[in-house]
Amino acid sequence: MDILRFITAGSVDDGKSTLIGRLLYDSKSILIDQLEAIEKQTKNREDGEIDLALLTDGLRAEREQGITIDVAYKYFTTPKRKFIIADAPGHIQYTRNMVTGASNSDLAIILIDARHGVVEQTRRHSIIASLLNIPHVVVAVNKMDLVEYSHDVYNNILIDYAAVAKSLGLKDVRYIPISALNGDNIVDRSTKMDWYEGEGLLQILETVVVTDDINLTDARFPVQYVIRPQTEALHDYRGYAGKVISGIYKKGDSVTVQPSGLTTTISAIEVSGIEVEEAFAPQSAILHLTDDVDVSRGDLITLTENQPSVSNELEVLLCWMDHKPLVAGNKYQLQINSRLVRAVVKEFQYKVNVNSLEQESAPEKVQLNDIIKATIKTASPIPYDSYQHLRVNGGAILIDETSHVTVGACMIQ
């Protein structure tokens, strides 16, 4: 059994929360008291139907306004997999929430209202999915019950979306017609759409292969913490604690510590307190090195034969996430895995139109939810990989030095 992390994206009324509610409900992950609680709330509403969306709206303001404000994480398990859902709100102003939810996702479900087809927000969500390099996309054409389960309507939407997918270079796209409200093609195949020959949505989610998405070639190990017991018995013990974010490390491997460039050998590896011959992504581990080189938090241990780029000038796609606009020349802290350095956003090359992916002229001030191409200069060199090649070592955040808030997400080019 493994884990699938996915995000659901849709516009406000595409039935996203209903779909999640349906997945939880049909996989029997909702329990009686939770159901009773939403039944009680539903009674105060006019239509009287159980509102599965209420399962995901966790905050009072959300329930009162009938909107979703923040990313909510939901969980369900089937005998095949554990699922972690990032439920990101669909509002235009909440691009940053989708970016947040997408950053960790293996798969995106893009919801399309069968009555409206591919709309601006569909494009926006797909563009974000592609910028954040989500490996798998499932296009769920929802509310099929409202178009009389029409094969033609579905086919037309497929043709429209295929053009979007092609323009974005989305690699793995699957399509499915559903009705989240009635449960068509969610867990069980719908009897109302015999023309659809594919699997039910849950089956797709259970069988998408995600292990291949973990890069086992480019070994990267950000050092988080140095373990030095300094006791009599363990006087010389010095272990570098961190997580293998990609690749495989073996005892005896020649490694280079970046950005210093010092080269040494792995003398021992521990995983879960046990000495092992090798460690692989995404294991947390402790590495021991033969030479007493200077290694501390923020350094990246890599295989000598496979090095990342090292530079203090980065070309990035930057999603701005703060209400205060970004002005060229502003200084921030840049954090990539455990490495934290001062950085200045030097110049903006262009702004990405998130509805068309077209490049527009760079604005003077970058506003909340804008995505721009920019150059960032850092106070000391950063070992990095291109985000599109190696997601785990190509994403960085910008932190405001005065408010300490996370203000930007950088995908390094």
Binding site: M1, D2, I3, L31, I32, D33, Q34, A37, L55, T56, D57, G58, L59, R60, A61, I69, D70, A72, Y73, K74, Y75, R81, K82, I84, N97, V99, T100, S103, T211, I214, Q224, Y225, I227, R228, P229, Y237, G239, A241, G242, K243, I245, S272, G273, F280, A281, P282, Q283, S284, R297, M321, Q335, N337, S338, R391, V392, I397, H404, V405, T406, A409
Partner: protein, 302 residues
């Protein structure tokens, strides 16, 4: 299956260890909030994996309401002793006295809300800048929206509308003086994951998690242990039942479930078959209102 594949419990474990080490790497004075419940016991187990053979870079801290199960307290003391880590205990009763707080009244008078005062005082006393806790997102709807690194202001308050975006596995723990961060390494675990992990790792638990005979009173379908902290009236039905605890909190706000489960395997079978959620079945305090948890979190509750 390739040998380079982790099963889901190993993935969860690795993620949690990574988060704990980020706390160690980013903060000056962290603490691990320990209650004696199964989730915080798992946290300690994960900390052993994250930092051994070194010492923990934080003490264990217990905010004792004075209404705890003796079994949980005994377990706490024995565990701290066995692993040789520092344990700090602060009493809610002391805060009540020092600050002249009003004890809650009623049948199941719970000091749960007063706990927040003692917690905030303890944070101030030791200048803790990060507190690791065992909350899980599957427990409750407000928790489902909380970040793994959750910033609290100097009053310990959570502002759900001003949360920092949390991207990839990059955790921003930068704060101002007086602020602190609550860190939830097992955010992505469910109740069942916790039990499966306890089974896999063979983690010892306080005896109250297993079936035992106990004098309980029935209240609105929930079984509450008879203790000096609960008011018994003549109209109450009190009886001896075979029960176990699914969660362990205060004696006044935690309900038992009828069960003959004596082993972890039995418990897991029961959880898989159950039709009620962990909090719904066993927490009296969450039933007060729809937004009970959200309100308490906003006020500095864990």
């Amino acid at each position: 299956m390739s040998k380079y594949q982790l099963n889901y419990l190993d993935q969860l474990e690795s993620e949690s260890i990574h988060i704990m080490r980020e706390v160690a790497g980013q903060f000056e004075r962290p603490a691990l909030l320990f209650s004696g419940g199964k989730d915080s016991i798992v946290l300690v187990h994960l900390a052993l994996k994250a930092f051994r053979p070194g010492k923990f870079p934080f003490p264990l801290v217990h905010i004792d309401t004075g209404h705890n199960f003796q079994e949980a307290l005994d377990y706490r003391d024995a565990l701290a002793e066995r692993i040789g880590e520092k344990l700090i205990v602060r009493q809610v009763a002391d805060t009540i006295k020092a600050k002249n707080l009003t004890e809650p009244k009623g049948k199941f008078a719970s000091r749960n809300a007063l706990q927040t005062y003692t917690l905030l005082d303890t944070i101030e006393e030791f200048k803790f800048d990060a507190c690791i806790g065992g909350a899980r997102r599957d427990e409750e709807k407000a928790r489902a929206k909380e970040r793994i690194f959750s910033v609290r202001d100097e009053f310990g308050q959570w502002n759900p509308k001003l949360q920092r975006p949390e991207l990839w596995d990059t955790y921003n723990g930068r704060i101002d003086k007086g602020e602190n961060v609550r860190v939830f390494p097992i955010s992505n675990w469910t109740e069942l994951d916790i039990w499966n992990y306890i089974r896999k790792e063979n983690i010892e638990l306080p005896s109250i998690y297993f079936s035992h005979e106990r004098e309980v009173l029935e209240h609105e379908g929930q079984l509450v242990a008879v203790s000096e902290f609960v008011q018994i009236e003549t109209t109450d039905t009190v009886s001896i039942k075979r029960v176990r605890y699914r969660t362990v909190g205060d004696m006044t706000c935690t309900a038992a479930v009828e069960s003959s489960a004596n082993t972890i395997d039995d418990i897991i079978s029961e959880i898989i078959a159950t039709k009620t959620s962990e909090r719904g079945e066993t927490r009296i305090d969450d039933r007060v209102s729809e937004a009970a948890m959200e309100d308490r979190k906003k006020n500095g509750y864990f």
